[in-house]
């Protein structure tokens, strides 16, 4: 699940530059995860597939509400959960949809992209250990910058700068690889 988070960050950075293929890959990466999320919660696979599509459309039409400085998973999870609640409401079913950890939605997947994972490990290996540690703590383990900074010998301010630079260089090296 660590890899997927960094893959997503890179794909978002690329889509921000107008890269349609990266954006398509991001949506394609979400589809099986959303499918797993909805299939587990709905009996009818056709309903689940409808919700997958509705959620993908919502991700697209509401993409300006995503703040790229924040993790992606809680945002997608918020949308998927809203669509699920909306689905039950339309059916007239009163059902409680419990609030789960947002990371769940990335963990739930039928398929695992092995090739890109290898790519990503190669990319991550290029980062200095200290930066990589900070990035993993903040982006993957969900620590706040204030919590993670001292673990890697940063002040809070320096950690913010380092994190920003790390993500930037990461997406730059992805971009370079794509060319």
């Amino acid at each position: 699940m660590e890899d997927i988070d960094l893959q997503i960050q890179s794909l978002i950075a690329l889509s921000q530059t107008g890269d349609k293929a990266a954006y398509g890959r991001l949506l394609a990466l979400m589809a099986p995860r959303l499918r797993a999320y909805f299939s587990r919660r709905l009996q009818d696979p056709a309903d689940a597939e409808d919700l997958v599509q509705e959620t993908l459309i919502a991700i697209h039409t509401k993409r300006e509400t995503y703040n790229p400085a924040l993790p992606f998973a809680p945002w997608v999870y918020g949308i998927a959960r809203y669509k699920l609640i909306d689905h039950f409401r339309r059916r007239g079913v009163r059902r409680h949809v419990p609030l789960e950890a947002a990371g769940e939605i990335l963990a739930e997947s039928d398929t695992e992209a092995g090739a890109t994972r290898a790519d990503l490990n190669r990319l991550l290996a290029r980062l200095p250990a200290r930066q990589r540690g900070l990035l993993e703590d903040v982006r993957l383990r969900g620590l706040t910058i204030a919590e993670a900074a001292p673990r890697h010998g940063y002040s809070e301010g320096a950690a913010k700068v380092a994190l920003h630079r790390t993500l930037k260089s990461l997406s730059a090296s992805v971009a370079a690889d794509e060319d």
Binding site: G24, L27, Q53, K62, E64, T65, Y66, P68, P74, Y82
Partner: protein, 213 residues
């Protein structure tokens, strides 16, 4: 439609512009509404008579500071509530501080004056008109702001609508302050506050219908 085809279709317009753009639009359009409310206040109701004196300007600015802070809390809240997965703790705390702080200031002000004068101080000369005027003027900012807010993705549409109403109400209360010559803190907190809350309630009712997605 197959999901793969859907993705291919969606991926024709990539990009995550970030919420800044949306926020700017919200400020711009509620600002246009506020400007119209200010114009309407000045042209129809007329400026407060002491606007040419330092004390009058100071009183206006003080009241404007409070009502603009309420509008700011509304904007902040709307931004958070319109973003799936975001927490609204910060803006809710700011809003509670403004409301509780206002109520404390009201109690302190009223406690300082003789009991017989308290009702007069609290009611001023326009207690009945003030909330209605703010609600009415608030519509001018509420409508454009609500249209922009339809681009948000609120998980709780009514709450997001209330936040938009708080923004609009805070702005219209500021505009109404151009006319209203009441200077008491208690008047501001209670009657302006009531007008702003009424606008927020209207925003909640509208939001529950139009902010669904």
């Amino acid at each position: 439609m197959k999901t793969e085809d859907l993705i291919a279709g969606l991926a024709l317009e990539p990009g995550f512009p970030g919420p800044r753009q949306l926020e700017r639009k919200l400020i711009l359009w509620s600002g246009v509404g506020a400007l119209m409310a200010a114009l309407l206040t000045l042209l129809v109701l007329g400026p407060r008579p002491d606007m040419d004196q330092i004390a009058g300007v100071a009183s206006f600015l003080g009241k404007a500071g409070y009502t603009l802070a309420l509008a700011g809390a509304g904007l902040w809240l709307a931004r958070r509530l319109g973003q799936p997965g975001a927490r609204a703790k910060g803006p809710l705390l700011a809003l509670s501080l403004l409301l509780v702080g206002g109520l404390i200031a009201t109690v302190v002000e009223l406690a300082r004056i003789p009991a017989g004068e308290r009702a007069g101080q609290l009611m001023g000369h326009s207690a009945m008109i003030c909330p209605l005027a703010i609600l009415g003027l608030g519509l001018l900012a509420l409508c454009p702001a609500m249209i922009v807010a339809r681009r948000l993705a609120p998980v709780r549409p009514a709450a997001a609508g209330a936040a938009i109403g708080l923004l609009a109400g805070g702005l219209s209360a500021t505009a109404y302050g151009l006319h209203c010559a009441e200077t008491a803190v208690s008047f501001l907190v209670i009657w302006y506050g009531l007008g702003v809350l009424a606008t927020a309630a209207l925003g909640a009712a509208i939001g529950a219908r139009v902010l669904r997605w």
